[in-house]
Amino acid sequence: MCLGIPGRIVDIADAGRLLMIVEISGVRRAVNVACILDDQPIERLLGSWTLVHAGFAMSRIDDDEAQATLALLQELGETQATLDAMHESERALGERP
């Protein structure tokens, strides 16, 4: 069972039942935050990003880790773009009479 989607916690729906409102691209849904509460007051979760699965917030998304992963991926992408550009210009050079 894998379908999970990142969403931002934007409001409290029912503190007694540990329900908060998550927003995903303009769509809102109440989700249960028991798994990510960590003994904090529920308000502390407002504004955090979480992975939502079957109506439950299952993990707080670690932005530092996300950025680190993206940085690596972007670097690979940029390296490749540079290589592509080099190949392009080599090819263009080769085509000149």
Binding site: M1, L3, I5, I24, S25, G26, V27, A54
Partner: protein
């Protein structure tokens, strides 16, 4: 009397009063004969043809953001005429009412149909009313048939579609299907998504004026855009390839499909025109679409290509390819 009873379908006074109060007052037919008698300029011109279509509307819930069953019933049939190049003229409307249905709701639906007919420039000229026992209906079912006029020389058909044709659509995918999905109480999703229910014939006429060589047109309804593409590919014996990057999608529809694991290509639309246009006229067609508010998000989304007959393929954002098959059964939200 506030609720529909079996007497309202009985053919007697109750039925006559209902028809007068709810339908005749709003649709204003020219006569109360058993049939409408109609004529339109140009209908006898050599080469002119009548377009005739029928459809039934069973949507639940009856009312939803952006529309209701009445609005769908008018625009849906108007659009079926429009995609044949016809000027929509006249509609019939048959109602199957469930015993116990509130008459006030029926009046609201009839209001909506009258407004839709006015907006589309068509007249509802004849109809029928039946009542079924409680539990044997879903409030109300509506069936509309429509008649339109295709001018001489206009012949849109799937069979005309050729390799090299551009595929264009006028707007965002899946708005109607997403709206209906979001109204399901058990999914408890809160969103501002609205149905895209709207008439498409003026848009169609604008495109035909700018790009008279259009080969075929369809309005994508149940089964979504993917279904239309499959139908056209199969009927014309061609293959179609569309680009995922070019597909316009509202953020909320994207969000909803991500949450539920749905594919917007298979979600229903009620105001989506798919056009198959010779490459040379594609830009003109696109400009004509974009000049109209109903075409604000119009895009060229792909082409008819060389390939096995009937195959529809999607090119993903990074050049991967996947098939777009015909939907099997209903699209259900995934858990995986």
């Amino acid at each position: 009397m506030t609720l529909i009873t079996l007497a309202h379908g009985g053919g007697g006074k109750a039925m006559r009063d209902l028809i007068r109060d709810v339908f005749v007052s709003r649709f204003k037919p020219e006569s109360m004969e058993d049939q409408a008698r109609l004529s339109a300029p140009g209908m006898l011109a050599p080469g002119a043809r009548i377009a005739f279509t029928t459809d039934a509307y069973v949507v639940s819930p009856l009312e939803f953001p952006g529309g209701d069953i009445g609005r769908l019933a008018v625009f849906g049939t108007v659009n079926d005429l429009a995609v044949g190049g016809a000027e929509p003229l006249w509609l019939s409307a048959a109602f199957i009412l469930e015993e116990g249905f509130p008459i006030e709701r029926l009046r609201r639906i009839a209001d909506s149909m009258a407004a839709a007919a006015l907006e589309a420039g068509v007249r509802i000229v004849t109809g029928d009313t039946k009542v079924v026992e409680r539990g044997k209906g879903d409030g109300v079912f509506i069936s509309t048939s429509g008649v339109g006029l295709i001018p001489p020389g206009c012949d849109l058909a799937a069979a005309h579609v050729r390799v090299g044709d551009a595929v264009l659509i006028n707007g965002t995918l899946g708005d109607h299907g997403a709206t209906i999905m979001a109204t399901r109480a058990e999914l408890a999703l809160d969103t501002a998504i609205q149905s895209d229910s709207r008439p498409l014939h003026r848009l169609m006429q604008a495109v035909l004026a700018a790009a008279p060589g259009v080969h075929a047109a369809r309005d994508a309804t149940r089964g979504g855009l993917a279904t239309v593409l499959n139908e056209i590919a199969e009927a014309s014996g061609t293959a179609i390839q569309i680009d995922e990057e070019k597909l316009p999608l509202r953020p909320e529809v994207r969000g909803l499909t991500e949450i539920l694991g749905l594919d917007p290509l298979y979600l229903a639309n009620e105001g989506l025109l798919a056009l198959f246009v010779p490459a040379a006229e594609a830009d003109a067609a696109l400009a004509a679409l974009r000049a109209d508010p109903a075409g604000a998000d119009a895009a060229i989304i792909g082409h008819v290509v060389d390939g096995p007959a009937g195959r529809v393929v999607l090119r993903t954002a990074f050049g991967g390819l996947r098939r777009l098959e015909l939907l099997v059964g209903e699209q259900l939200p995934r858990i995986c």
